[in-house]
Symmetry: C2
Subunit: 232 residues, 2 copies
């Protein structure tokens, strides 16, 4: 295959269940995958270890970890140790309010850096595992935001100016339930024992089992008649 025939994709890889699935989907669609992860002042570094192992397992062409200090802007339980991660939220709360785990403008920042990476390697496709159902409280996980960002990305860049609409933001999981995501990932061979979803794992990276992310994940496996391999 010569260089012109390679279709490159940049895949945002947090180390969680969704992004691990997204990475395999991109590969399965024939893309040469270039993963990008962020050290953004999150409370725990365990998810980056997961991202590294997932990238190796998926045989990515490259994996970049970008330092970006979002914690200095404060305001989120994910980056500010003074704000507690909520536990055992009720169903009524999950998905109806903007959670305290929301990080200011996070997906805008992450997508803009993915765009810079993409432009530098002549990739026109960016995959992000956002999900509008489980996390409807996060404004930057909604399809209308992704569409607006994609439009901005095409206007922002050399390649978009030369080929309008060429840059595409792929969100294959955006309308799926957690159970559907897991089912798709299992068909593609995702090893979910390598992933982490917990907002507040212990020092060895074991999930708390009680935050929103843990609860949604457990239910997703349960709906498939499975136990989360992290809890097995």
């Amino acid at each position: 295959m010569n260089d012109l025939e390679v279709r490159r994709a940049v895949v945002l890889l947090s180390g969680g269940l969704d992004s691990a699935t997204c990475l395999k989907i991109a590969r399965n669609q024939g893309y040469q995958t270039h993963a990008i992860s962020f050290r953004y002042g999150q409370r725990h570094q365990h998810e980056l270890e997961c991202a590294k192992r997932l990238a190796v397992q998926a045989q990515v062409a490259a994996h970049r970890i970008i330092d970006i200090d979002l914690a200095q802007f404060g305001g989120s339980a994910l980056t500010d140790a003074k704000i507690q991660v909520p536990k055992q939220a009720t169903d009524a709360v999950i998905g109806t309010e903007i959670p305290v785990t929301y990080v200011p403008a996070r997906n805008t920042v992450f997508l803009s850096l993915a765009l810079a990476f993409a432009e530098s390697i002549q990739a026109f496709d960016i995959f992000i595992g956002v999900n509008a159902l489980d996390y409807s409280g996060y404004p930057d996980c909604r399809p209308e935001f992704i569409a607006a960002f994609e439009r901005a990305a095409n206007l922002a860049t050399k390649v978009g100016v030369e080929n309008p609409g060429k840059i595409r933001i792929h969100t294959p999981l955006i309308q799926l339930s957690k159970a559907e995501i897991i089912a798709w990932g299992l068909r593609l061979g995702v090893d979910y024992s390598l992933t982490n979803s917990c907002y507040d794992p212990d020092i060895d990276g074991r999930p708390c089992g009680a935050c929103d992310a843990c609860l949604l994940r457990q239910r997703g496996f349960a709906a498939q008649g499975l136990t989360d391999p992290l809890l097995a």
Copy 2:
């Protein structure tokens, strides 16, 4: 003045002539100004020293300098020492091609970080000194990109979801000539001896006098019958 009456603005401050003018414009419009600068792998750090002095002189409420390693993406003469900054370009070239000084997705990355900062301090206004005339070769300096980013910003954030259209990206210089920018700045008391515009200054920060940015700046002062204070 109580907290509710304060109108905060985030101003992108590179240390150059345009952003220095933009900062004074925001202040003159009654905003409490919060400057943000980036250490993004640029070849010289002198512009950040200029930004610091300008922020102090303009009595900003805060000045954040964010580390973000765009150089690892390569591809620009501004961040890659292997690519030469072009000198003595002809008029025919300035403004008609995408220059080698273009940094991949730079303004998208900078605006997204300014947005994160703005959201964390409850600012709804972001000022950026982009200019579509002198630098028409940079796609992310055009009004259509700014409008698309503003739309995405309102869809991305808590405050934009709660108050659609609340977040505004201000580009007061976008249609002005360099001479008009300088004239406006002088009326507002900008000290242009504190600014730097050169893409390739010497080790003491003195401008090369020959790159596109130097040439445009010299012409702007000349059109006002003035000499650039950096060359005086």
